[in-house]
């Protein structure tokens, strides 16, 4: 394999990884933008999405197989994750919206512990294996570069979802309400926006996106474990910070960039250092440009 082909191959791997990060980072960023909460449980919702996808796929295996079954499983995972996100918001976060930020953050850690340990107890700490029955090596070869069909579908789905989300936030009434709440909650209330409903919807949307990522990861990696959300949670946060937390295009850009950087880093360094590399970028980013690439300078209002 020539150097160029190696670079391109790592580029493809980086884009796949990056689209997972971007999908999870979007949920982080949306929730942070709207209620200034680092939703610590977000990585665990991603993990739950992967588990639901795996279970539904197993249940469907008698009737469906291949891509239709994967699609149905992911849709089911989205609904369940959305419900979970809504429940967490309704019962854990909403009572604390006026409380100090530390209480809200600690509650998020509590929610994360609950989801994480529930799945751990259910699965008995064992990883589950997923076989979609799809041919994971079939794909298009260009020179020495291989792009499998699965990779292409993953990228296409991520791109479509992100496009859809941008349109939703930019061009619908609810999307406008979300942006307005991020700016000033009290004024929104005065203007007759049902703030609680929109916040709930934001959580559902963010969780559904994380579940898509979880489902896709399940297909791509072929195994699911209760602790899979932990690292991706921190990395998605890193991605959100790189792009500028609170910014939707920022989260997408940050995710893809982090994926590419990590693929490059893995190539240059030993792969056992790849997490160190990613978290090092987070700290570096906070030193150099804390508002991120696309974030606006935050003006704190009292």
């Amino acid at each position: 394999m020539s150097t160029w082909e190696l670079i391109l191959q790592q580029g493809v791997n980086g884009l796949i990884l990056g689209s997972f990060y971007a999908l999870v980072a979007l949920g982080y960023s949306m929730v942070y933008g709207i209620i200034k909460l680092l939703n610590f449980a977000h990585g665990d919702i991603y993990m739950t999405g992967a588990f639901v996808c795996l279970s539904v796929f197993g249940a469907l295996s008698r009737f469906l197989s291949g891509w239709p079954a994967v699609a149905c499983s992911i849709v089911a995972a989205m609904f369940l994750a959305a419900a979970l996100g809504f429940l967490a918001q309704r019962f854990a976060y909403r009572p604390l919206l006026g409380a100090p930020r530390l209480s809200l953050l600690i509650t998020a850690i509590g929610v994360s512990l609950v989801i994480y340990n529930t799945v751990m107890v259910i699965t008995n700490s064992q990883p589950l294996f997923f076989s979609s029955g799809l041919d994971s090596s079939a794909g298009i070869k260009i020179g020495g570069l291989t792009v499998t069909y699965i990779q292409m579908v993953l990228l296409a789905v991520s791109a479509l979802v992100m496009l859809g989300l941008s349109l939703f936030i930019g061009h619908t009434k609810t999307g406008r309400a979300m942006r307005a709440i991020a700016l000033d909650q009290d004024t929104c209330r005065l203007m007759g926006i049902n703030v609680n409903k929109v916040i709930g919807l934001t959580f559902m949307l963010g969780s559904a996106l994380a579940a898509i990522a979880g489902g896709l990861a399940c297909v791509y990696y072929g195994n699911v474990q209760y602790n899979m959300g932990y690292t991706i949670g921190i990395k998605a946060f890193t991605a959100a910070v790189i792009g500028g937390i609170g910014s939707i295009p920022g989260a997408m850009l940050g995710g893809l960039l982090l994926g590419l950087l990590e693929a490059t880093g893995t190539q240059l360094l030993d792969s056992s250092w790849k997490d160190v590399f990613a978290f090092g970028i987070l700290i570096l980013m906070l030193i150099v440009r804390p508002n991120g690439l696309l974030g606006k300078t935050e003006i704190e209002r009292m």
């Binding site: 680092l38 530390l102 850690i109 509590g110 512990l113 690292t231 700290i283 906070l286």
Partner: protein, 319 residues
């Protein structure tokens, strides 16, 4: 160990109880076996970590999710200096303080200028960096860690028995309580409480919030580092698994559920977390699901009683 002064109105009852408790703790080894001493040692060890984290979380209201890293840094600094360089244990302590301070500045200085909640994720990321680095390097003994760390000597006595360590850690707990108390009742401590209650107002009143937050973070890191060094020589073996996220989460839970900022509450929380697995070790379901219950407890406590079970009483507060 527990200072119950806040509870009592009488001027002398509090110190009296404190002295009584201290006497009981001092005399206890005369009447108990090794198992009790080891369990109590474990409780005191968690109490030290919780007291250290309490300065960051309880006094200053910052969320540190990677406290295990501070304690790992202390443990590994001592371990490496003793194993690879043949240092005496007591001489490693100043180095531990120095390294802990440097690490705290490296993480805290860029982060604490920003919104306080960034610290939560950055400390989490940093803890992972520390753990993975310890696992990958040769000098830290990679995945199996360092072992056969020598036992230190104190006034010619080699500290090997449980009873020795019981007293060493008792002294450390008293020292940490003293430090915490001094920090709390100083001008600096009042500034921290101000930052915790209302950071914007504190800044408006001329408190240099970034600097004070960094100082609190540094003190917490040093206490964690020192605890880590003693842990290393007590256990004589350390490995990366001792410093994972569960460890950080346990310490944080002890501080928050015990009562943020309140010394006896924090110690009670820590002892509870150390003793709880001992009691329920043989109960099948609770052993696995205990973190699940703690998670639920954490959410409920935050909603119903956000100040913890035994919180600090506000002195002269308006509401």
């Amino acid at each position: 160990m527990i200072k119950a002064k806040e509870m009592m109105n009488s001027k002398w009852l509090g110190p009296g109880m404190l002295l009584g408790l201290l006497a009981a703790m001092l005399a206890l080894p005369l009447f108990s076996n090794d198992y009790v001493l080891i369990v109590l040692w474990n409780g005191m060890f968690y109490a030290l970590l919780a007291l250290g984290l309490n300065i960051i979380v309880g006094y200053c209201g910052l969320c540190d999710l990677g406290y295990a890293a501070k304690f790992a840094i202390g443990a590994y600094t001592t371990g490496i200096l003793m194993k690879s360089f043949g240092w005496n244990f007591w001489l490693t302590l100043p180095m531990v303080v120095l390294v802990s301070l440097l690490a705290a500045i490296l993480v805290g200085a860029p982060t604490l200028k920003l919104r306080s909640d960034y610290l939560a994720i950055v400390t989490l990321g940093f803890a992972e960096i520390v753990r993975i680095t310890a696992r990958n390097l040769d000098i830290t003994g990679s995945a199996s860690g360092l072992n056969a760390i020598a036992r230190p000597e104190l006034f010619g006595l080699r500290l090997t028995k449980s009873i020795h360590w019981y007293y060493v850690f008792l002294v450390l707990v008293i020292l940490f309580v003293f430090i915490s108390h001094r920090v709390r009742s100083s001008r600096f401590g009042r500034a921290l409480a101000y930052i915790r209650e209302d950071e914007d107002a504190a800044r408006a009143m001329g408190v240099n919030t970034t600097r004070y937050k960094l100082y609190a973070y540094m003190i917490g890191a040093v206490l964690g580092g020192v605890t880590g060094s003693f842990f290393a020589v007590r256990m004589t073996a350390i490995s990366p698994q001792s410093f994972d996220f569960t460890q950080s989460a346990n310490i944080l839970l002890a501080v928050i559920l015990g009562g943020m900022g309140k010394i006896p509450g924090v110690i009670a929380g820590a002892v509870f977390f150390a003793v709880f697995p001992e009691i329920f070790r043989d109960v099948p379901f609770i052993g696995d699901a205990r973190m699940l219950f703690f998670g639920i407890l954490l959410v409920v406590v935050m909603i119903v009683r956000p100040q913890g079970f035994w919180p600090e009483r506000k002195r002269g507060a308006l509401k």
